[in-house]
Symmetry: C2
Subunit: 252 residues, 2 copies
Amino acid sequence: MGNAELTKPNQSWAPVRANSVANQIVMQVREALFNGKFQPGDLLGSEKDLAAQFDVSRITVRDALRTLETMGIIEIRVGAGGGARIAEGNLDYFSDALAVQFKLAGVTEREILDLQVAIEGTGAELAALNRSRENLEELSELLGEAENVMDSSADFTDAGQQFHLAIIEASGNRALIAQFRALRYVVWPQNAQRATREIAENAQKIHHQLYAYIEAQDSEAARKLMIDHLVSIRAVAFSGTAADDATGVICC
Amino acid sequence: MGNAELTKPNQSWAPVRANSVANQIVMQVREALFNGKFQPGDLLGSEKDLAAQFDVSRITVRDALRTLETMGIIEIRVGAGGGARIAEGNLDYFSDALAVQFKLAGVTEREILDLQVAIEGTGAELAALNRSRENLEELSELLGEAENVMDSSADFTDAGQQFHLAIIEASGNRALIAQFRALRYVVWPQNAQRATREIAENAQKIHHQLYAYIEAQDSEAARKLMIDHLVSIRAVAFSGTAADDATGVICC
DNA sequence: TTTGTTTTAATTGTTATATCATTATACAAA
DNA sequence: TTTGTATAATGATATAACAATTAAAACAAA
């Protein structure tokens, strides 16, 4: 008693979790990965092998493998020559985890959209700096495709989203790409709304201007325009109920 | 034969995956969550209950529960009254998944730092707009604490990181908070380096100025200063090997 | 009543064994 | 070369059992 450490009022305790054998296996593999002892594609072994190596039952190994698989650390194949292997990076899985966590934490649409503005603004900025000839060709092609579907709201929305994705990809930053794809997944229901011809034309005009800035490598202008673009989309989306303003729909 | 669909050269088939029973259970629970049929804390049941409800073995239910647990969708408690419950949002888990995916995808430090600039820049901007009286008090307190540990590089680094976190929290945006915490986890090894007294004093000066902008609700100035701050930290971090410049260490 | 202790029952953790479904490989047949 | 077939490896699933953990209930003491 009288332990000063224990009586500190603001002491916050780390949750104590009895580490199961399965979790210990998970941690061992995870640590090995971060210590550079594994490369994507490396074979860990079959359930039987691993059960023998760790001296535990197959079920316990299965528990660990299921966790590692869900974390995206390993991939499991059945059949001869199958077993558990270190996975190639799979960012789709992360997107799903992000969506789940936002859902559980009750993160609002507005909060997510502010994050989207941050991601896409920086994406446009870096795209202007780093875009390759191939990036410009793809962006140009997507602009042309969008031009052909201006009257089909669903198709235009789709083309617009592809344009935004292509910009992020032109940034050459895989961290941004992952974030963008994750967010697109999360905000999908909102963006599935229809765009009128007028809105489509306005968006297309902005997209053309974005392309011009990126081609000219004017990163600051690209960033500012992208943010304005997203903020105006958001303003429309939050301007009231759909009934208030039938034309107040977003496109991309 | 002669099926036009099948002979189309560019036809790409979606891979057909036999969905395991365990995965079907995972998807059912996941869909129910997104359809609003579950709230955090809701009891799913024990392994035995669920095995009976889904008419599968306990092993299969365990596989599904292990996956759902790793996704952060459920929490599992052992003992009487235990079982699987819908989890409260746990953003730490997401941080780990992000770190794993970046590791596997081979995302570079530079890419991650560009993302960090985007997140923290927007965080500072929103903090200036949304900061509460409590936020200002905490930021002020952290500045004072940092003042007392200027000569201890490790302590000052720690205090600086807490200051940055407090700014993000002042933004009131849980999506940004989640991203920041995730990134901090990922870039931890870099930031663990030591800061000299000179660097600490410079950082402290900038932090004081950041506080002033946030208090004055000057969002644009706060954003710009934060970005400059991070870019200069990054410039030092990438200026060469540690041997080249012993003072080129980062602090926060 | 309040507090501390013991008991009990529920539940996950782990092991063992067995069968089924899936897959890669080797090899034979056309 | 192409196609089919047998074989072995491997995960997926099921059943049964026991150990370890934990919450709740019952009980005792102050």
